[in-house]
C-alpha cells in the first residue's frame, strides 16, 4: 500500500465549518423554509400490541388550518413494504408503543400539534410482552449479527477447561436500554416536483436515505435527492431511515406542498431506534499463572417483532485475549418493542463493559494486577480468525497509560484510600473497535486557476469530517489547504458510504487519495502539469480493503479512571479519566482529541447515568426527556485527558489512519466500574452505577 506523504494531515486544524456553525449560518435541515410549506405532526400508538379499530379525526379535521389527517385508512399505498417499520400507515396493526398510527398536516406546527391531540384512536388491545429475560421463551439464534458477523463462534472445549481450571469466574453483567438523544432532533423537509422528491434531512448518509425513499415509493434513485450538509449529532440513530422520513415524503405527496417534520424529544424515544438492553454471561478460566484457558461470552438481547436488529455484543471478545477454548453466542428475544438500532459503538460498548469488568474480577481472583493480567493474556494472532494483527497497540497503551496515570500509587485492596467522606479508587479497562473500510468513490477536480474541489456524498454529523477530508485531500493532491474545497452531504455527489462504524474517514479518505492520484497522474502525463482551460477531473473508486482478508484490523486503547464514592450518600464522582489510544495516524490532532474525549464522556455517561426506563404495563419508555433520561452534564465530567501512541499500520489505508469515532466510548464504563470496586469493595455488574447500589 502506497503511503501518503503528510503535510496537512496531523495538524490541529480548526474546523472549517466552525465559523458557520457558531454564527448560525450553517443551515440545518429543519431551517429550510420552502415556499408554501406545511407542517406534519405524527400521532403515536398508546398500546404496545393490537389493532386500530377506528380513527376519529373529525374534531382535528374541523380545526382551521388543518390540511389533512393521514392514517392507514386514507394513506397512499407504498411501493415496498420490505422494511415493516417503514411501512408507515399501511395497516391497522400496532407492533409497539409509539408506532405512528396517524399524522396531522397543517398550516403551522402549532395547529398540527393541537390537532394531533384531538384525534381519537380506538384500539383492540392484545396482551403484550416487552420484558427481556435470559430465560425468555422466544429466544432464538439470528442468522448473523450486525453488520454481518457470525452469530456464534466456538473452539476447543470451554466446559472442560472450566472444570480443570486453577481459577475460574462465572458472572452475569447487564446493560439497560439506551437512547441516542442527539441534540438536533430528527428532521425532514420534503418537497415534490416534476422530477421527483427532494429532502433536507438530518442523517448520517444521504445516499442511504435516498435509496430507501426510492425503493419505498417505487422511484428510481435519480428521482430522489437528499441534502444534508450539516447534522447536529446522530450517534447511530440517523444512519438508517426511520418512519418519520417516509411519513414526511408521503405527506408532501398527499398535500402537494412541501412539508416539514421535526420529532419531539418524547417521540424520539420510540421512533428512531435505541440500544438493546443486554444480559451477558461471562465464563473465564485460567491456569495457576493467570493465563486464560477459556473465555465464553453468551449474550441475550432483544429485537422487535416486525424487524430484526441483532447487536454484535460479544464480537470483541473473539479477539481481545488469548485462550485455547472459546465461545461466543448471541440470542434474541422478539418483543413488542420498537426496533433497536446501532448506537455509539454498537456491540463493543456493552460487550466490553462485561468483558473488561470480568477481566478485572479475574485479575483479582488470580492475584494479579489488572494491567499485568491483560498483558499476560495478549494474543500473538487473532485467536478466532488466526490472522495476524495489522497492528495492535494494546500493550503499549496499557504501559504508557499506567505510567502517566500513576497506576503504581493504586492500592490493590479496596477501601484503602480516602479523602474526608470520599472513598477513592482507580480502575483500568481496555478498549477496541474494528478498523473497517467500505467501498467509496470521490471526484477530484481542478480548474485552470489551480483551485481544487473534491466531491463525495460523505457526511459530517458533527465529527469533523469537513475538516479531516480537506486535510487528506490537500496532501493527496499535494497542494496547500487553501486551494482545496470539499463538497459533501448531498446524495447527488459521488457514491460514498455512511458515517458509521468508525469507517467514514478511512473509506472516504482512501477514495479521495485514489481520485487525487489519478488526477495528478493525468495532469502530469497528458498535460505536462498545465491545467487545460476547461479544467480536469477524475473519479477515484475503491472497494473494501483487500488486506482485511489477511489481517485482523482494530483500534485499541487503555482507559484509566479515578473515582470518588461518598461514604454517606453513595454519590460517584469521576475526577479523572485518562485514555491512551492506538489508532494509527491521527488526521487532525484537534478534532481527534475532541472525538476521543467525547467518546470517553459518553462512556462515563453510560457508566453513571444513562438508562431508558420501560414501564412494562404500557410498553413505553417513561423517562422520555432530558430531565429524566440523564446524560452526563459538564459538572459530572472532571479532568479528561486523551493521548495516543505512534502507530504505523502499513495495511490499513494510504493515510495509515484508523477510525476514532467510537473507540473512545469502549471500556470507559468498565474502567469506572472497576474503579468503584477498588474504592468501595462493591462490584457493580448492572449499569448504570447509581448511588442506591452503593449505599
Amino acid at each position: 500500500m502506497t503511503k501518503l506523504i503528510t503535510r496537512a494531515i496531523g495538524a490541529p486544524l480548526d474546523r472549517i465549518d466552525g465559523p458557520k456553525k457558531v454564527t448560525g449560518t450553517a443551515t440545518y435541515s429543519y431551517e429550510h423554509l420552502p415556499e408554501g410549506v406545511a407542517y406534519v405532526f405524527p400521532i403515536r400508538s398508546t398500546i404496545a400490541k393490537g389493532r386500530i379499530l377506528s380513527i376519529d379525526a373529525s374534531a382535528a379535521s374541523a380545526l382551521p388550518g388543518v390540511i389533512t389527517v393521514l392514517s392507514h385508512e386514507n394513506a397512499p399505498r407504498l411501493a415496498s413494504l420490505d422494511n415493516a417499520d417503514l411501512a408507515v400507515l399501511q395497516s391497522a396493526a400496532v407492533a409497539y408503543y409509539g408506532q405512528f398510527v396517524a399524522a396531522v398536516v397543517a398550516e403551522t406546527i402549532e395547529i398540527a400539534r393541537q390537532a394531533a391531540g384531538l384525534v381519537v384512536v380506538h384500539y383492540e388491545e392484545q396482551a403484550h410482552d416487552v420484558e427481556l429475560r435470559d430465560d425468555h421463551s422466544s429466544l432464538y439464534k439470528p442468522a448473523r449479527v450486525n453488520p454481518n458477523f457470525e452469530t456464534d463462534t466456538a473452539s476447543g472445549d470451554v466446559e472442560a477447561a472450566l472444570a480443570s481450571a486453577a481459577f475460574s469466574l462465572d458472572q452475569i453483567y447487564t446493560t439497560p436500554t439506551y437512547h441516542t438523544n442527539p441534540l438536533e432532533p430528527h428532521t425532514t423537509v420534503a418537497m415534490w416536483n416534476d422530477d421527483g422528491v427532494t429532502l433536507y434531512d438530518a442523517n448520517q448518509g444521504a445516499q442511504r436515505i435516498r435509496d430507501t425513499v426510492a425503493s419505498t415509493f417505487g422511484l428510481s434513485p435519480e428521482r430522489v435527492r437528499v441534502i444534508s450538509p450539516y447534522v447536529g449529532g446522530a450517534f447511530g440513530s440517523k444512519a438508517f431511515p426511520h418512519p418519520h422520513v417516509i411519513l414526511a415524503v408521503m405527506a408532501a405527496q398527499v398535500v402537494e406542498r412541501p412539508v416539514k417534520l421535526a420529532l419531539t424529544r418524547q417521540q424520539m424515544f420510540t421512533a428512531v431506534g435505541y440500544r438493546t438492553p443486554t444480559i451477558q454471561r461471562i465464563h473465564l478460566a485460567a491456569d495457576r499463572d493467570g493465563r486464560l484457558t477459556a473465555i465464553a461470552h453468551d449474550v441475550v438481547e432483544q429485537t422487535s417483532t416486525i424487524r430484526e436488529f441483532a447487536e454484535q455484543t460479544a464480537v470483541a471478545t473473539r479477539m481481545m485475549y488469548a485462550a485455547a477454548n472459546r465461545r461466543t453466542t448471541h440470542r434474541l428475544a422478539r418483543l413488542d418493542v420498537p426496533v433497536p438500532t446501532i448506537m455509539r459503538a454498537p456491540g463493543e460498548a456493552p460487550g466490553m463493559f462485561a468483558l473488561e469488568s470480568a477481566m478485572d474480577e479475574m485479575a483479582i481472583v488470580c492475584g494479579l494486577d489488572p494491567v499485568e493480567f491483560r498483558i499476560l493474556n495478549e494474543p500473538e494472532v487473532d485467536p478466532t480468525s488466526g490472522r495476524p494483527f495489522s497492528s495492535r497497540g494494546l500493550v503499549a497503551c496499557l504501559r504508557e497509560g499506567a505510567e502517566r496515570f500513576g497506576w503504581q500509587q493504586r492500592s490493590s485492596t479496596p477501601r484503602m484510600r480516602r479523602a474526608g467522606r470520599w472513598l477513592i479508587g482507580s480502575g483500568v479497562a481496555a478498549s477496541t473497535y474494528p478498523a473497517r473500510q467500505r467501498a467509496s468513490t470521490a471526484l477530484a477536480r481542478v480548474d485552470h486557476e489551480g483551485n481544487y474541489s473534491v466531491l463525495l456524498a460523505a457526511s459530517d454529523m458533527g465529527t469533523g469530517a469537513w475538516t479531516a477530508l480537506t486535510q487528506i485531500a490537500a496532501d493527496a493532491l499535494e497542494v496547500p489547504l487553501e486551494r482545496v474545497h470539499i463538497e459533501i452531504g448531498d446524495s447527488r455527489l459521488p457514491l460514498a458510504p455512511i458515517a458509521g462504524g468508525s469507517m467514514g474517514t478511512s473509506s472516504w479518505g482512501t477514495a479521495i487519495v485514489e481520485a487525487a492520484r489519478k488526477l495528478r497522474t493525468r495532469l502530469h502525463d497528458e498535460y505536462g502539469g498545465v491545467v487545460p482551460p476547461e479544467g480536469l477531473e477524475e473519479i477515484g473508486e475503491v472497494g473494501d480493503n483487500p488486506e482485511a482478508q489477511n489481517f485482523s484490523m482494530h483500534s485499541y486503547g487503555a482507559q484509566f479512571a479515578e473515582v470518588r464514592v461518598n461514604i454517606d450518600t453513595g454519590e460517584v464522582r469521576v475526577p479523572r479519566l485518562f485514555g491512551v489510544f492506538a489508532v494509527g495516524r491521527i488526521i487532525n490532532a484537534k478534532t481527534a482529541r475532541s472525538q476521543l474525549l467525547g467518546g470517553m464522556t459518553m462512556g462515563l455517561s453510560m457508566a453513571l447515568h444513562e438508562e431508558s426506563i420501560l414501564d412494562p404495563r404500557f410498553g413505553d419508555y417513561v423517562n422520555h426527556d432530558f430531565a429524566e433520561y440523564h446524560i452526563a452534564t459538564n459538572a459530572d465530567v472532571g479532568e479528561v485527558d486523551v493521548s495516543w501512541i505512534d502507530e504505523d499500520d502499513a495495511y490499513i489505508n494510504p493515510m495509515g489512519a484508523k477510525g476514532i469515532g467510537e473507540v473512545g466510548i469502549v471500556g470507559t464504563a468498565a474502567a469506572i466500574a472497576n474503579a468503584v470496586y477498588n474504592a468501595t469493595g462493591i462490584r457493580i455488574r448492572d449499569l448504570p452505577i447509581t448511588l442506591d447500589k452503593l449505599l
Binding site: 398508546t46 402549532e110 400539534r113 393541537q114 391531540g117 418524547q266 467522606r421 454517606d568 450518600t569 453513595g570 454519590e571 464522582r573 453513571l608 447515568h609 426506563i613 414501564d615 404495563r617 404500557f618 413505553d620 417513561v622 423517562n623 422520555h624 426527556d625 430531565a627 429524566e628 440523564h630 452526563a632 452534564t633 459538564n634 459538572a635 459530572d636 447509581t690 448511588l691 442506591d692 449505599l695
Partner: protein, 329 residues
Amino acid sequence: MNPFRYERATDASSAIAALVQAPTAAFLGGGTNLVDLMKLGVAQPDLLIDVSRLPFNRIELLPNGGVRIGAAVRNSELAADRTIRAHYPMLAQALLSGASGQLRNLATTGGNLLQRTRCVYFQDVSKPCNKRVPGSGCPAREGYHRSLAILGASEACIATHPSDMAVALAALDAVVRVLGPNGERAIPLVNFHRLPSDEPQRDTVLEHGELITAIDLPDLPFAAHSRYRKVRDRASYAFALVSVAAALDVADGVVQDVRIALGGVAHAPWRAWKAEAALRGKPATEETFRRAAEAELADAQPLPGNAFKVPLARNTLVRTLLELIEEAQ
C-alpha cells in the same frame, strides 16, 4: 398545545380581577415549568396573565429584622443577594443547586413555589394520573417511582415537590404573602403546600385568583450558619433524590435551636418537626443526630424503587448536621 390568549398585567388588582373572571386562566411568571406543561398538554390555560413585570421585584429589609422577597425576583438574583447569602446561606445554596443558569435567570420566586411534580406519569397525557386527571389512577405506585415520596403520600398520589428553594424556605419559617379578590393573607410556607390526601390535584392551599406577592423571612440569626445539601443522580441539573436544609445553633456542645427541612421526600417541602424536637437541648453528637433522623423517618413508607431514600435521607441529615458543627469549630 392549545391556543391561548396572553395579557400583560399592569397592576396586581386588575390581574387578580381578570383571573377571577377566567376559571381556566393562569398567572405566568418565568414560565419555566408552566410553558413546558402547556407544550405537553398537561396544562391547558386559555389565558395567561403575565405577572412577571409587576413591581414585586425587590428584596427589602423589614423593620423586624426579617427580609421581604418580591414574588417576581428571579431565582438567580435572589441567590446572588448579599443579605441572603450572609444571613440565610441555605437559601442561596438551595437556589443555586436547582435547575440551570438559564432557567434560574427566568424563574421567579413565586413561580418556583408553584412548580408541579416531575413524576413521569403526571407529565405524560397518554398515561393515567390522579393529579392530572382525578380518579384516573396512579401508575407510579407500581411503576417508576425512584424520585417519588417516602413520607406523607396517599393511596392516590406519591408525587414529590421538585423545588429546592421551597425546602430552605420551609426550614426558615418563611411566610407567603398572597393577594386575592378578598384582600391579603399570609400563609406560613409549611402550610402552603398540601399533602396529596384524596385531592392530589391540589398542590397548594392557594385559591383561584390568589397571587403571591412576596415571601417574608423572619429574623433568624443562627440561620447565618446553615446549609443546603442536595443529593441527586448527577452532579448538576437533576431533581433531588433527597435534600436537607438545616440551620443549627449549638452552645457548649448542646443544641440550643435547630431548623430542618427535607426535600425530595414528600408532596410538600418536609419540615422535620420530629427531628428538631429530638435535637433541642440534646448534646450535639452524631448519636443524637442519628436518633433525630430516625425519629423523623420512622413514619416513612417507601416503595421498592425508592426504599434507598430512607437510609439516604438519614445519612444526609446526620452528615449535614455534623458538617455544620465542624464548620462552626
